[in-house]
């Protein structure tokens, strides 16, 4: 039996572990080493350059644009998505079950689509002359609001944000409505008896009780906002433009590695992104832990 146990365990773990080490762990580990070299992909020519790549990052204006844009995405996309998601989820609570179910199905649609498909589609929506958006605005007499959405620095990043929000709201509506449905009905009824209005009920009953889901949402959306690669690469002018207005770290990294062949420098960007993600996760989980202590 003992023998069979070990044989089973080895059989169960080793194949997955091998894949994990070869394709996941070793690349991550190598990235840290590469970020300290000037490797250009020519075998055997990686030279150790210390922190040079990191120093260079600080003076790379395009990369700094990318950091700024990712930071903006990180603030705006989760906040707006969660706000809309919570709003719609609490609206759904009070709607008829049939209708609510239908809405939930429709809201979830974008979540099912590849970001590439979404980006291609929205590229057409934003087309200044023949796109859905501008021709719609013109049709209802708001032609003055029509813009070259993706080509004006003031709007390009907002246009990207809108697509990210559009594509993720549905998921969080479903997530939050599940959490809201888990709240005992009596609490809402008690609030109603206390004479609390809709907003008061939302802030006093709903929000505190779905806090954990909101935290999860922040982490997921934060990670998505630190990426944004597919939408930017497919949809924006340049891509990453106009003039760096929609540049994101992922795009900089991809271009630096696979167009310029500067693999060491690109790896340094990856390491920077890694620490950003790590910080985000730690912050989110920390506040989660504190919350639990308070509740306990």
């Amino acid at each position: 039996m003992k023998h069979g146990r070990w044989r089973f365990l080895l059989g169960a773990l080793v194949p997955a572990l091998v894949l994990h080490v070869v394709f996941v762990l070793s690349p991550y580990a190598q990235a840290f080493w590469l970020s300290l070299t000037d490797w250009t992909g020519v075998a055997g020519e990686a030279q150790f350059v210390g922190a040079d790549n990191y120093v260079r990052l600080g003076g790379d204006s395009l990369f700094l644009d990318a950091v700024r844009n990712n930071a903006l995405l990180l603030i705006v996309v989760p906040l707006v998505t969660i706000a809309i998601g919570l709003f719609l989820a609490s609206m759904l609570r009070t709607s008829s079950p049939r209708l609510g179910q239908g809405y939930r199905i429709v809201y979830f649609f974008p979540q099912l689509l590849s970001l590439v498909v979404i980006a291609v589609l929205w590229g057409f929506v934003y087309n200044p002359n023949t796109g859905l958006l501008n021709s719609g605005l013109r049709a209802i007499g708001l032609g003055g609001l029509a813009h070259s959405w993706l080509a004006e620095p003031a709007f390009a990043l907002i246009a990207v944000m809108a697509v990210l929000v559009w594509s993720s709201v549905g998921f969080y509506v479903v997530l939050f409505s599940a959490a809201i449905e888990g709240i005992p009905r009596e609490l809402f009824e008690a609030a109603l008896l206390d004479g609390a209005g809709k907003w008061a009920t939302f802030f006093r009953v709903t929000l505190p009780l779905v806090r954990e889901s909101v935290q999860v949402a922040f982490v997921y959306l934060g990670i998505a906002a630190l990426d944004a690669f597919a939408v930017v690469q497919v949809m924006t002018v340049g891509p990453g433009g106009p003039d760096g207005a929609t540049e994101v770290i992922g795009l900089s990294l991809y271009r630096t590695a696979f167009t310029y062949g500067k693999f060491g420098y690109a790896s340094a960007m990856g390491v920077a992104l890694f620490f950003a993600t790590l910080t985000l996760a730690v912050l989110a989980l920390r506040s989660g832990r504190k919350e639990r202590l308070e509740l306990a």
Binding site: G4, F8, L9, A12, P15, A16, L19, H20, V22, F23, V24, P27, A31, L34, G41, L88, M91, T94, S95, L99, R104, V106, F108, F109, P110, L113, S114, V116, V117, V120, L121, W122, T130, L132, V174, L175, S177, A178, A179, E181, R185, F188, S213, V216, V219, I223, L226, A230, Q233, V234, I249, Y254, A257, F263, A266, G270, V271, L273, F274, G288
Partner: protein, 290 residues
């Protein structure tokens, strides 16, 4: 995310129906439904229009449906081939991921041995690393194994990057399964493998379905990995093929064909979702809140 507790499933029908006088909530919900559905509907409708109609009257309906757009997208624009490539790669990777992931999750959840926690965290930590960090070295690892631009390379990498989530998700699932049945099976003389495949795996079916659906969506929509690891246009997967058509190749300015391609890429997933939406939402709630 393990800190959070399991929520009851969405299917519990417990909405409080309050008498409403305010039309605003209904309006807001309707508006968002329109905002969500309109661009998708627009793509479907545009896929039946001529190029001229698309360029000159974006809001109109097609004068006569151009079925030819779909045929052209499927064959001339190779959407059919990309679709098939996606099926091959995602299908194989999904089977492999589910097999390896459930084995690992089960072994870690139900067996005590030295290094158990270490292995678990090794897998789970990878969920939080940005793929971008691994991108450059991964390219060279795959290249050196001679797997660049092959189905096998893509399948193995897809699997490697989908296993951590699968392990994370199924680990807690296997933990909650009752141990009596497994013990009874051992007493009946079943081997460890047989207990897993004949007893535990069927018991874990709801979890497997949920994580399977997640993995399918994640892998089907994967873009970054194939973009880097799969440079051969003949082996492009759907997302990659569509991006190439719209961004890099231009595809001979065939908008109607491109819209048809988009629709072909969207519809199967949307239809499958409507058919399976109960499972998906139940699984999502369990998975995300767990």
């Amino acid at each position: 995310m393990t800190l959070l507790q399991t929520r009851p499933s969405v299917d519990a029908p417990a909405p409080v129906v309050i008498k409403r006088t305010n039309p605003l909530p209904g309006l807001a919900m309707f508006c968002w439904a329109v905002v969500t559905a309109l661009p998708l509907l627009w793509a479907v409708i545009s896929s039946f229009k001529t190029d001229d109609e698309i360029l000159n009257s974006p809001w109109s309906l097609p004068a006569s449906p151009q079925w030819d757009n779909w045929a052209r997208a499927w064959t001339a624009a190779s959407i059919g081939r990309y679709f098939l490539n996606s099926l091959i790669v995602v299908g194989s990777a999904l089977v492999l991921t589910m097999l390896l992931g459930s084995l690992v999750a089960y072994a870690l959840a139900r067996y005590e041995f030295r290094g158990n926690r270490a292995i678990y965290y090794t897998f789970v930590a990878a969920m939080f690393f940005p793929v971008f960090l691994a991108l450059v070295p991964l390219f060279f690892v795959v290249q050196q194994l001679g797997l660049l631009g092959t189905y096998a390379g893509l399948i193995l990498v897809y699997t490697a990057y989908a296993v951590p989530f699968t392990v994370f998700f199924l680990h807690s699932f296997f933990r909650t399964l009752p141990s009596e049945i497994a013990e009874a099976a051992f007493l009946d003389g079943c081997s460890h493998g047989a207990v897993f495949f004949r007893v535990m795996l069927p018991l874990a079916r709801p979890g497997l379905v949920a994580v399977g659906i997640f993995n399918f969506l994640g892998l089907w929509n994967q873009y970054l990995l194939p973009l880097v690891l799969n440079p051969d246009p003949d082996r492009y997967v759907l997302a990659q093929g569509l991006a190439a058509l719209s961004v890099s190749q231009g595809y001979r300015s065939d908008w109607s064909g491109l819209f048809a391609g988009l629709t072909i890429a969207m519809l199967p997933v949307l239809i499958a979702y409507v058919a399976f939406q109960r499972h998906i939402r139940a699984g999502m709630t369990a998975g995300a809140v767990k």
